[in-house]
């Protein structure tokens, strides 16, 4: 059968298609966005199929999510607007069928799911789990840092007791350990395949797994044309969840946002990942397109005032800045009304929900009065910087902040910093006096956010904030169970300090926007902000 004849008959062939060899299967995608095949477009590029490899970019995390299983996962909940979201407070089994945590909270024992196999048919054993977690803590880079967040630091902590039983020993109990096992990082790899392809120089088979995943997950990678597309094929023997709704998902890289928008509007594709606020607002009104916007958990777009910059050493100046910002206008013009306002809250902190509204709003009287009390009543000049790769919201925001600051005598000059340099200048060297920042924590607890953003030296404390009381509170609370009697008072106090000292001025909580063609169901928001294609299904 040649390609042409095949195409002619392709429409009548759909049931028997799965019996055809690979090369002839692809033309099936002719009915792109049909019941069998979904087409997803996105603006990034997949640069590796191995999340543990150094240099693997964020967009590539979705391969780890869709092609590998972890020991545990999160359940699903419905959000206020009826869309679905993962549920941080509900840890569910994935490759582990069940688990037990010792009374002192330091030993976690997992039973591996019976009948779970890798794609090549080999049963998943505790030895594979041990090898995979060893790899995550040994390879360095981001995987190791993320593992450390769950107090998983050394291979000595992992033990395969027998084929079905796996044990983790923690140095001390931590509420972050179990949820950390559900992040994209601790994937379970087929260790026999990996070991067979390891070399003395490359004991963790990074070169092999970079191109050839070896997992047990719901989808396999059928084709990867770097820089163009990735084609997922369903693993019909997946043991860890309900069978995904699509037989095949094609992930296409389309760099231009306007092109992606044309594609979804014309109905040529099933979904467009991570679209800008402006498009989310406009597409939501079009027929045939459905936009799901979910507030990103534990994430706030903020303006940060660097305490190494002389005027910002004075708390009153920082507060004056917070009172000068035209929040309302920023939310309309930079966020296009998508997201959750983070200003104009109550004076008292009454809940530990995070993020929550700060007590600030635009009040120039108050701002001027505060400035008048300081040594800077005649104003000062300061550069206001933002990261060019997030210019879509940062640029209009910066311009409006500039106007607000001018009202209280602060002359801000706008500095755009290229994406590649941002990390080094803003986060590592921490030398930007005034800048826009968008940190969001994967593990959804307020203390985790405060850990990264309010302890001196930590990466997202890009403003050199240092407060011993805050540091002690975070240190005490980070591993503490949420049910501990001290937990709520501690977090409340952290929020109070954060709002009073206000080194990081909250603007709004952003949303993750995804556009779908009518008839694609089941989308679920995840903290990692990548598309989990497993629950997607045709209507």
């Amino acid at each position: 059968m040649n390609r042409r004849n095949f195409l002619k008959s392709a429409t009548t062939l759909s049931v028997g298609a799965s019996l055809l060899p690979l090369a002839q299967l692809l033309p099936q995608a002719a009915q792109a966005a049909s019941n069998e095949t979904a087409v997803v477009v996105f603006g990034g590029t997949i640069n590796s199929l191995d999340i543990h490899r150094s240099g693997t970019n964020r967009a590539s995390y979705q391969v780890a999510i869709n092609c590998y299983d972890r020991l545990v996962s999160f359940g699903t909940k419905q959000t206020a607007d009826g869309s679905l979201s993962y549920d941080f407070n509900n840890v569910q089994p994935e490759l582990a069928e069940s688990w037990e945590i010792s009374d002192d909270g330091t030993v976690m024992t997992f039973k591996i799911r019976k009948g779970a196999t890798f794609w090549d048919g080999k049963p998943v054993t505790a030895h594979d789990v041990k090898w995979s977690l060893d790899r995550a803590v040994s390879l360095g880079g981001f995987p190791t840092v993320q593992m450390k967040a769950g107090r998983l630091e050394s291979p000595d902590q992992f033990k395969a007791i027998d084929d079905e039983t796996f044990q983790i020993t923690l140095p001390f109990p931590s509420k972050l350990a179990l949820p950390d096992l559900a992040t994209p990082i601790p994937i379970i790899i087929n260790s026999e395949v990996a070991k067979a392809n390891a070399t003395p120089d490359d004991p963790w088979a990074t070169e092999y797994l970079h191109r050839s995943p070896a997992g047990s997950g719901a989808f396999k990678v059928m084709r990867w044309n770097a820089g163009e597309q990735l084609v997922y094929e369903r693993n019909d023997n997946w043991a860890c969840g309900p069978l995904p709704g699509y037989q095949r998902v094609m992930l296409r890289e389309v760099p231009a946002q306007s092109t992606r928008r044309a594609l979804i509007e014309r109905g040529s594709v099933s979904a467009s990942q991570n679209i800008p606020n402006k498009d989310a607002k406009e597409l939501a009104e079009k027929a045939g397109v459905k936009v799901v916007s979910t507030p990103i958990e534990n994430c706030i777009y903020s303006l940060c005032t660097n305490l190494d910059f002389e005027p910002f050493k004075d708390k009153r100046v920082r507060q004056a800045v917070a009172w000068s910002i035209p929040y309302e206008k920023i939310f309309e013009q930079a966020a296009y009304g998508q997201g959750v306002p983070m200003w104009g809250g109550a004076d008292q902190v009454t809940s530990i929900a995070w993020p929550q509204k700060s007590p600030y709003e635009q009040n120039l009287e108050k701002a001027r009065a505060l400035m008048a009390q300081t040594a800077y009543k005649d104003g000062f000049e300061v550069p206001l910087s933002f990261n060019l790769s997030v210019a879509d919201w940062a640029e209009p925001t910066a311009l409006l902040i500039q106007q607000g600051l001018a009202e209280i005598g602060i002359k801000a000059s706008i500095e755009k910093i290229p994406g590649a340099n941002w990390r080094t200048i803003a986060l590592v060297e921490k030398k930007l006096p005034l800048h826009l920042e968008n940190f969001g924590g994967w593990l959804n607890t307020p203390d985790y956010y405060f850990f990264w953003a309010y302890i001196k030296g930590n990466l997202f404390n890009s403003y050199n904030y240092d407060n011993p009381e805050m540091a002690k509170l975070i240190d005490d609370t980070l591993d503490m169970a949420v049910s501990h009697p001290d937990y709520t008072p501690n977090v409340t106090r952290m929020i109070e300090i954060a709002f009073d000292d206000i080194p990081r001025i909250p603007l709004w909580q952003p949303t993750l926007n995804v556009a779908f063609k009518e008839g694609v169901e089941g989308y679920e928001y995840w903290f990692h902000r990548q598309m989990d294609i497993r629950p997607l299904k045709p209507a």
Binding site: V39, S54, G140, Q229, V254, L263, A420, N421, R423, T424
Partner: protein, 342 residues
């Protein structure tokens, strides 16, 4: 001029290119490292700490002093190893082998299309000054230079894909229903013809149509203008007047005497236009999701992906050396004066 002398000249020209290429290597190596930004910090990822950044730096070999890095680089290069482009996770050789044909297919196609329109248009405009053909030529030339390619691209996309639905979805070199042909030249159109697969040929051509027209519109302008000017000049020259006075046919005067001489500046322009088009490619590639070399290089530059940038510059240097050589050789074929005095 004998064949031996000719090939000797070609060889000399090639040898002359070696110091040029080496110079480009050195400059490019230093320039990429002079870029602000720290690739190790970038590739270590968002949450990485100091230790893991150091580890990445070591993996990339960036902890070595610069002269050492250069020696390693040239050593690898001599073995044909261009390194790994971290931003895309592939070796630079693989990327170039895949993306250069994609870009060249567009560029050469656009040049060809532009030539077939621009040259006759220029000739017609020159022979009939101030007629409607001349005005049309002026209009196209003005439009071609003044419209930025990404705009033309988006406008064409909007009309022919979004509104009319004539063009296929702008998602790269092939529609999703096709598999690429077996790679021989790397040009999908040519490879599909070699494979004798008409459906595939049509599909790749359909995918190419809009980007091709976008680029051709841009390319057309300088070629048409140059042809027109050169034709006007030769038509006013002594030898054309003499030929006319000698009573040669209009056709003979135009083609043999005027056009052949007018071609020389056009060929020169073509060399330059080629480089413009390759540059303009970047934007067109972005709009049409074309997996070409331009977008690859820009992305690599943005994240300070040294190996990728160096590989790109090297391949471009070689390409242009080859192109200049080709133009020189074409000159000797067209212009009888070149070469005779040696």
């Amino acid at each position: 001029m004998s064949l031996g002398v000719k090939s000797k000249r070609v060889l000399t020209r090639l040898l002359q290119a070696i110091p040029t290429v080496f110079g480009i290597l050195v400059v490019c190596f230093i320039l990429t490292r002079a870029l602000p930004g720290d690739p190790a910090a970038y590739f270590a990822g968002d949450m990485a700490d100091e230790a893991s950044i150091e580890q990445v730096r070591e993996n990339l070999g960036l902890d070595q002093p610069m002269p050492m890095q250069f020696v390693t680089y040239v050593g690898d290069l001599l073995q044909g190893d261009l390194g790994v482009a971290i931003s895309t996770g592939q070796t630079v050789t693989q990327e170039l082998a895949k993306r250069l044909p994609a870009s060249l297919e567009l560029t050469l196609g656009a040049l060809l299309l532009a030539l077939t329109i621009a040259v006759p248009l220029g000739v017609l405009a020159a022979t009939r000054p101030n007629s409607w053909v001349d005005h049309l030529c002026r209009f196209l030339v003005t439009a071609g230079v003044s419209l930025p390619t990404f705009f033309t691209g988006l406008a064409l996309l909007y009309v022919f894909y979004y509104l009319l639905g004539w063009a296929p979805p702008p998602m790269g070199r092939l529609d999703m229903m096709f598999l690429p042909p077996e790679s021989i030249t790397g040009f999908y159109t040519i490879d599909s013809l070699i494979a004798g697969d008409w459906a595939l040929f049509k599909a790749s051509l359909a995918q190419m149509a809009l980007p091709l027209i976008t680029l051709a519109l841009f390319t057309l302008a300088p070629i048409a203008r140059m042809t027109r000017a050169a034709m006007l000049q030769t038509l006013a020259s002594d030898y054309v007047r003499t030929a006319r006075a000698a009573g040669l046919s209009r056709r003979r005067v135009l083609v043999t005497y005027a056009f052949r001489n007018a071609l020389l500046p056009v060929i020169t322009t073509l060399g330059m236009v080629f480089s413009f088009v390759l540059g303009a490619n970047v934007l067109v590639e972005k709009v049409f999701a074309w997996p070409g070399i331009g977008s690859f290089a820009v992305e690599a530059l943005v994240v300070s992906d040294y190996a990728a940038v160096q590989g790109f510059v090297l391949s471009m240097a070689l390409l242009f050396v080859a192109l200049n050589l080709l133009i020189d050789v074409t000159y000797t074929l067209i212009d009888p004066r070149v070469g005779e005095d040696s």
